[in-house]
Amino acid sequence: MSFLGFGGGGQSQVSSQQKVQAAEAELDLVTDMFNKLVDNCHKKCISSSYSEGDLNKNESNCLDRCVAKYFETNIKVGENMQQIGQNFQAAGRL
């Protein structure tokens, strides 16, 4: 649950409230990612004809690869954001 490194060391003087909030923010991020994964892999892999209730072989294979590729995309985007770096800070602000 710590794949972006939140909740890790380096924050020695933060309050209890801040620590719980950081942990909560991380949990929300993981939950959000999981929900997006479910949605996006459904779009990519599941036909909406519903000729059966089971996942067929094609759908199952597609889902496994979809999750793997979503994680790889997640890492790649993180790397890109670090490179773009300071530009990003401006963009992230209202």
């Binding site: 649950m1 710590s2 794949f3 909740g7 890790g8 060391g9 924050q11 209890s16 620590k19 719980v20 942990a23 909560e24 949990l27 929300d28 993981v30 939950t31 999981f34 929900n35 994964l37 479910v38 892999c41 459904h42 599941i46 909406s48 519903y50 000729s51 059966e52 209730g53 089971d54 996942l55 759908e59 199952s60 889902l63 496994d64 979809c66 999750v67 793997a68 994680f71």
Partner: protein
């Protein structure tokens, strides 16, 4: 996470339980939305046709199996990622 003391850990646990209830409700309402959107297209009557009912049943079943499989793969990838990063 290991930097939370027991008191903080407890508060965090309570928070997780609260979120799980919300997650369950969101799953439920998303399932309704998805299956309605994909299966219901006849608005000449106010009752579901038998064709629509069958579609909704399969849609729910397939979506839950889908979420389950994605959840398992998600955990595996998350664990692998943790190892790769030396955590």
């Amino acid at each position: 996470m290991d930097s939370l003391n027991p008191r903080e850990q407890q508060e965090f646990t309570r928070l997780i339980e609260q979120k799980q209830m919300k997650d369950f409700m969101r799953l439920y309402s998303n399932l309704v939305e998805r299956c309605f959107s994909d299966c219901v297209n006849d608005f000449t009557s106010n009752k579901l046709t038998s064709r629509e009912q069958t579609c909704i049943t399969r849609c729910s079943e397939k979506f839950l199996k889908h979420s389950e499989r994605v959840g398992l793969r998600f955990q595996e990838q998350n664990a692998a990622m943790g190892q790769g990063l030396g955590r």
